[in-house]
């Protein structure tokens, strides 16, 4: 009846695991009670969970990411604490628990922090940046969100029922095969990846179509804001790369569950094929995480330098170039696994070439700042911190791209330091910059500046303290994923790294405090005009938070910095003479239901509860069938209602609230000459 799910699945094997399980369950119960106490279930369900509004879906993605960030960070803190004290001793974590922690840390940070964070920001902003009312497929968007949430739920449940994978976040067989990992851990990992991976694929398809089809008049490809450009590139990457993850995870699942021989040691399996298939997805994945952050930095740098982005076309080409090259380098993840010298050389050179377009971008941002009127907003501070730190990571990356050097550094903490050096400034700092930058757009009030700056400094200093020692330890020969060690020379560095982790913890606390303080100061930090930073791109043309339809009148765009141009021309806040009816998608419970079924399917597969697998599968088919027959998924918002909303908004704005644009009027315009680079 319950497959291999027995009472032994509960985490009585270690006090630490029991503590983790207790915190997870208690957290869930607390949230449940809080919502019940606030009588918020109905509002939550009708206004949020079943919503297909891209802005609400985006906010839910970011909330998921922030919750999982805390969970993933606790794992990091536990690892640092263990390694700081585990010289010639066992520390406080049993080996099998330590292995689960490093596996879940990587899995959570990549799949359930970075992916939902960037998808959330994209959801909130991209449709507005291209002057669209919505994404191309609002319902599909909701399904993507709930599949991602289902994957995250599987990881969280593994803490309470059963164990998580001990095979690292890359799950290499044969260790991840059934022979060496007979428990449920790897299955949890696999199903979390499959379920959330399908959600990501659907998201990618959605945003390709949205950006190609839904742009407003005048928004040519070479006038799209950089964030939209990076989103288009990563959506294409997602559509090409994520199917590879689905394939490799399904194959490993077949190996484990039905005794197939894709990656086994004997009977004709081939382990190297796993490495190839995994990194065909895995290498593009790091660019999927980083490129949207590059887009955010581009927006932030232009806005807070009060200048047009330097070298916009070169940034576009560099982005496309990076996207393309990301598919040509996957083998650098296994230089040491016995390919010929020529193969290694080709992939080494391909890897180093990526530094070129990335360098182009860094210089473009620097030149944008050059002679700009820089404002040290938290977003801008994160951007500058990124530029300095990321270059260090780039240099160590080029070093690792040399196959001979890689033979020395392979699987050492040098590698760990390198990829954290790319992903923390290159992805996470970007998302934090985006959070500070776009928060008023999503919620209608600004985040507290002081606590934003504080969080930045703790993150930055914490990052250097935590990872620079790991570079050194890599040179000293410490391999990654060590549960304890015997070399006393390592310990001081590991203690410093642990201090760094504590610093980052304070940084995370600062973000939490920033959110609370800002919410309490809600009244005084309102964003009335919808344009708090004197922004340049079209998302600032909507109200904050935007009306469900974003734009009452679809804008007509004449410039790269479309909104900046509208403000100079004085057309930005002009009320329309006539409003029109607007077609909107209806909310539907099918999104969360499909997510719940995906969770049930994954959970049942993990525990071999075959009747539940069949049930969830059939019900999913039924739901898809119901949706496929639905012809009434839209409704009409009348012109009168639209007019009411718009007039109320414009009535709030007095001319004193608007930004003074006199300084920004280009000289060419004043002299009556046509502006260079402006196509009329």
């Amino acid at each position: 009846m319950l497959g291999r799910l027995t009472i032994e699945a509960l985490p009585f094997y270690s006090w630490v695991a029991m503590g983790g399980a207790f915190v997870t369950v208690a957290g869930g119960v607390a949230v449940f009670l809080l919502i019940t106490y606030l009588r918020a279930w109905k509002v939550l369900w009708t206004d949020w969970l079943t919503s297909v509004d891209h802005k609400k879906i985006g906010i839910m993605y970011v909330v998921l990411a922030l919750v999982m960030l805390v969970r993933g960070f606790v794992d990091a803190l536990m690892m640092r604490a263990q390694q700081a004290i585990a010289l010639n001793s066992e520390g406080y974590l049993p080996p099998e628990h330590f292995e689960q922690i490093f596996s879940s840390h990587g899995t959570i940070m990549i799949f359930f922090v970075a992916m939902p964070f960037l998808t959330g920001l994209i959801n909130i902003i991209v449709p507005q940046q291209i002057g669209a009312r919505d994404v191309a497929f609002p319902f599909l968007n909701s399904v993507s969100l709930w599949m991602t949430a289902a994957g995250a739920a599987l990881v969280l449940v593994s803490l309470v029922v059963g164990k998580f994978s001990q095979a690292g976040w890359t799950g290499y067989p044969p260790y991840a095969g059934i022979e060496y990992s007979p428990g449920v851990g790897v299955d949890y990992w696999l199903w979390a990846l499959i379920v959330s991976g399908v959600g990501s694929t659907l998201s990618g398809i959605n945003f390709i179509v949205t950006i190609v089809k839904n742009r407003c008049p005048g928004m040519t490809f070479m006038r799209m804001p950089m964030f939209t450009w990076t989103t288009l590139c990563i959506s294409i990457l997602i559509a090409f790369a994520f199917p590879a993850l689905t394939v490799v995870a399904a194959q490993l699942t077949l190996d484990r569950t039905l005794g197939f021989h894709f990656f086994t040691n004997g009977d004709g399996g081939n382990m190297m094929m796993y490495a190839n298939l995994l990194w065909i997805w895995g290498h593009p994945e790091v660019y999927i995480l980083i490129l949207p952050a590059f887009g955010i930095f581009s927006e932030v740098v232009a806005t807070f330098s009060r200048k047009r982005l330097f070298g916009y076309p070169s940034l576009v080409y560099a982005t496309a170039c990076i996207a393309l090259l990301s598919f040509t380098v996957w083998l650098h993840h296994f230089f040491t696994m016995g390919s010929s010298a020529n193969v290694n050389a080709v992939f080494g050179i391909a890897t180093m070439i990526i530094a070129v377009p990335t360098g182009v971008k860094i210089f473009d941002w620097l030149f944008t700042m050059f002679r700009g009127r820089i404002e040290f907003h938290p977003s801008m501070v994160f951007t500058i911190g990124f530029m300095v730190t990321f270059v260090i990571g780039g240099v160590t990356g080029v070093l690792l791209a040399l196959p001979p050097a890689d033979y020395l550094m392979h699987n050492s903490t040098f590698l760990v330091a390198h990829f954290h050096n790319m992903l923390i400034p290159g992805a996470l700092f970007g998302y934090f910059a985006g959070l500070n930058y776009w928060f008023p757009k999503a919620f209608g009030f600004k985040l507290d500046r002081k606590w934003g700056i504080r969080s930045f400094w703790f993150w930055l200093i914490g990052f250097y303290l935590a990872f620079m020692p790991l570079y050194v330890l890599g040179f000293m020969g410490m391999s990654r994923r060590m549960e304890h060690y015997a070399d006393p020379n390592w310990q001081p560095y590991l203690v410093v790294a642990a201090l760094g982790a504590i610093c980052v913890m304070i940084g995370i606390a600062c973000i939490a405090i920033q959110l609370i303080v800002s919410a309490r100061n809600w009244g005084s930090s309102r964003d009335i005009t919808g344009d708090p930073w004197n922004g340049r791109t079209l998302e600032w043309a909507t109200s904050s938070p935007p009306a469900p339809y974003n734009f009452a009148i679809i804008p007509d765009v004449r410039d790269i910095d479309a909104f900046h141009d509208m403000k100079i021309r004085g057309t930005a806040y002009a009320p329309s003479a006539q409003y029109q009816d607007i077609v909107m998608p209806k909310s539907t419970p099918l999104g969360p239901i499909l997510g719940a079924l995906a969770f049930g399917l994954g959970f049942a597969f993990v525990w071999y509860i075959w009747w539940l697998v069949a049930l969830c599968f059939v019900l999913s088919l039924v739901c898809v069938g119901i949706r496929a027959c639905d012809d009434n998924s839209d409704f009409v918002l009348s012109a009168a209602d639209v007019e009411k909303i718009e007039r109320a908004r414009l009535a709030q704005i007095s001319s004193a609230d608007l930004h003074d644009m006199r300084d920004f009027v280009p000289l060419g315009e004043a002299s009556g000459e046509a502006l260079p680079g402006r196509v009329m």
Partner: protein, 202 residues
């Protein structure tokens, strides 16, 4: 939400047209992601094709005449789906249903033949758990079969929609997309025939 007036209905129809256009484009991209899945399964098969681990080899298990029968059924079903699409453009819903039913029957016959083939292999002790070669074979061909099964389910739903709603704009759009899916499976099968079966018996 307001009551639907005649103007609103027009507006909804207008919106429907643009959204259906986007859906078709999106469906092409979905097919591309599916093509990536099949490409990687093909690559896996190419790597493992000779890893029969002292078990049955491709010469032992493939029967070209059986496969030829499957191929004929599937290609024919693509043709009959084409007839259904033509009938749709002529606006003759009765014929659409007729050709869809023929397509469905051909698809089911294909699945039955595949089932017989798999059953026979299992009985001969050539199941997917025997060797890397057989794992790759069953996964690739089975994934294609699973797609055909989903397509057949889709045809059932489609027949119901045509019968109940007639050839409305959304129904026609769905029919076109289902057709893309069905023809796509044909192309994949041609790949399977020429990468798996033909070299397998040579």
């Amino acid at each position: 939400m307001t009551e639907l007036s005649a103007g609103n209905t027009l507006l909804l129809e207008e919106e429907e047209k643009t959204s259906l256009e986007a859906r078709e484009f999106g469906f092409w991209i979905y097919l591309m992601t599916d093509a990536v899945i099949f490409a990687l399964l093909f690559a896996t098969y190419a790597v493992l094709a000779n890893n029969s681990a002292a078990g049955p080899t491709s010469q032992d298990v493939f029967e070209l005449s059986h496969t030829a029968g499957e191929t004929a059924l599937l290609l024919l079903s693509s043709l009959t789906f084409g007839f259904a699409t033509i009938a749709m453009t002529l606006g003759r819903s009765g014929r659409v249903v007729f050709w869809l039913i023929i397509t469905l029957l051909l698809g089911i016959c294909f699945l039955a033949m595949e089932f017989v083939e798999f059953q026979g292999m299992l009985e001969k002790g050539a199941g997917p758990e025997v060797s890397g070669f057989l794992s790759a074979f069953f996964t690739l061909v089975g994934t294609h079969g699973l797609h055909v099964a989903f397509g057949a389910l889709g045809i059932c739903v489609m027949i119901g929609q045509v019968l109940i709603k007639g050839l409305t704009l959304p129904v026609r759009s769905r029919l076109v997309r289902l057709g893309l899916f069905w023809h796509f499976l044909d192309i994949v099968w041609i790949g399977i025939f020429s990468v798996v079966y033909l070299p397998g018996v040579m």
